[in-house]
């Protein structure tokens, strides 16, 4: 019990030391076919007092990983490359179908796998995430 209390007290300090700048919530990936890019989704929460800017992503299961954004503002479905995604201080950004997403260009995975990927930040830091892989129909 005492041990846990100590850990509890130390948590904020540890948080600062390890700098988990973003909290990854409900990550997942939609895989369709090996020849078609897979898409990664998650919610990113920023508990810190400074904006966190994501500038890239990498995973050994993806070949190339890109930041993308789909939009349907005018009745046209389109997709754009994005240079960076900013997670505001004390705020969050959701990567979800129809909006921001990670595009996994050469997916080497199958539904049921767990894919590890790393988000690289503008300040040089990284955030790790593990994304369970779903198929076309059984997405959460």
């Amino acid at each position: 019990m005492r041990f846990f209390l100590v850990v509890f007290w130390l948590l904020p300090l540890m948080a600062q030391a390890a700098t988990p700048e973003l909290i990854v919530v409900k990550p997942w990936m939609r895989y369709l076919l090996a020849s078609i890019p897979a898409a990664g989704y998650m919610e990113l929460q920023n508990p810190g007092a400074a904006d966190v800017v994501i500038t890239g992503a990498a995973s050994s299961a993806c070949g190339m990983l890109m930041l993308h954004k789909s939009s349907d503002t005018s009745g046209m479905a389109m997709m754009m490359d994005v240079q960076s995604i900013t997670v505001p201080a004390h705020g969050s950004v959701t990567l979800a179908p129809g909006g921001y997403h990670l595009m996994c260009m050469q997916p080497a995975m199958k539904p049921g796998d767990k894919v590890a990927l790393t988000l690289s930040l503008q300040n040089g830091g990284t955030v790790a995430a593990v994304l369970p892989v779903y198929g076309a129909q059984n997405a959460p």
Binding site: S71, T73, S74, G75, M76, M78
Partner: protein, 323 residues
């Protein structure tokens, strides 16, 4: 009256080669648009429309034929020729080239199309005032039809400033009622009717307003015509300003079927569209007022010249002619 052209007229009873050429071209273009639409050049129609295609090309043919039959001294000036031909080219461009694809998928370009066929082109055709030239150029049967009692009666009613104003306002504004606009944009037949009615209403209106003939020939005074040209501006401005400035998304068709330039937001598209049919047409109505008043001035000058003042008579009345 010079009747020499009436003799040449007798020869075009049968279908001539030029007309046959236009009809053949229409059939070929129609087939190309149906079966090979993907890689046609830009100047080919997006949707082939027989009345517009045949109408513009036959107008061009009859215009040149009429010019050839008009004695050089009676031919209209260069500026009037360019206004007329430019207006025909504009109608053709916005209705029978691939530009039409854009007009179906951006509200502001749809307004460019509507203002072109309902306002700018009829304005140019009316400034051109090619009635005499075309009367010499069109086939005899068409001339006879134009001069038939029925057409004359219809013309007598339509070419009055009030019906012309009403027709102009109805044909341009009924299509802006949001549910009607939606139906007209998605229904191909209604779409064709919309464009045709816009063009027709605009033509009747501007031919009345910009009629260059003095009052004994034309039925209405220059002042009445100028007033008609100027007064329609106010409802038009009211409607356009509302479209441009309201925050309601009035025209869901474009969002539903997709905008061709997604970078332009629905709100900006609607604002641009409202501005396009607000400011340039407003300027044209003002121009029409000036042109009509200028015609009045010119015909007064002419009338004054024609009056033979008997020797010794005193002139009590002086017209304001700006001289």
């Amino acid at each position: 009256m010079d009747n020499s052209w009436m003799k040449t007229r007798l020869m075009d009873k049968r279908l001539d080669y030029a007309s046959l050429g236009i009809i053949t071209a229409a059939v070929l273009v129609d087939l190309a648009c149906r079966f090979l639409p993907a890689n046609l050049p830009y100047v080919f129609p997006f949707i082939f429309n027989a009345p517009v295609f045949l109408g513009t090309w036959f107008m061009v043919l009859w215009y040149f034929r009429g010019m050839a039959r008009t004695p050089a001294s009676e031919r209209p000036g260069r500026v009037r020729q360019w206004f007329f031909l430019g207006a025909l080219a504009l109608v053709y461009f916005v209705l029978q080239t691939k530009f039409e694809y854009l007009t179906q998928h951006m509200f502001f370009l749809n307004r460019v199309q509507a203002v072109s066929i309902g306002m700018v082109a009829p304005f140019g055709i009316a400034i051109g005032w090619m009635s005499e030239v075309l009367a010499r150029g069109i086939p005899a049967w068409l001339l006879a039809a134009c001069r038939s009692a029925v057409v004359r009666k219809i013309g007598y009613v339509l070419f009055h400033p009030l019906p012309a104003m009403a027709l102009f306002l109805i044909t341009s504004d009924i299509w802006l009622i949001p549910s009607v606009h939606f139906a007209a944009m998605i229904d191909p037949t209604l779409y064709a009717i919309m464009n045709f009615s816009c063009l027709f209403g605009g033509l009747v209106f501007w031919l009345v307003v910009l009629d260059p003939r003095p009052t004994p020939v034309s039925r209405f005074s220059f002042l009445a015509r100028a007033a008609a040209g100027f007064l329609v501006m106010f409802p038009q401005i009211g409607i356009s300003a509302y479209i441009a400035l309201t925050s309601t998304d009035l025209y869901s068709f474009y969002t539903l079927c997709g905008r061709i330039f997604p970078a332009i937001s629905p709100a900006n598209d609607q604002m641009l569209g409202g501005m396009i049919q607000w400011i340039p047409p407003g300027m044209m109505n003002t121009a029409a007022l000036i042109i009509a008043l200028n015609s009045l001035r010119l015909s007064d000058i002419k009338a004054e010249k024609d009056i033979v003042i008997p020797p010794g008579a005193k002139v009590y009345k002086a017209n304001w002619t700006g001289r």
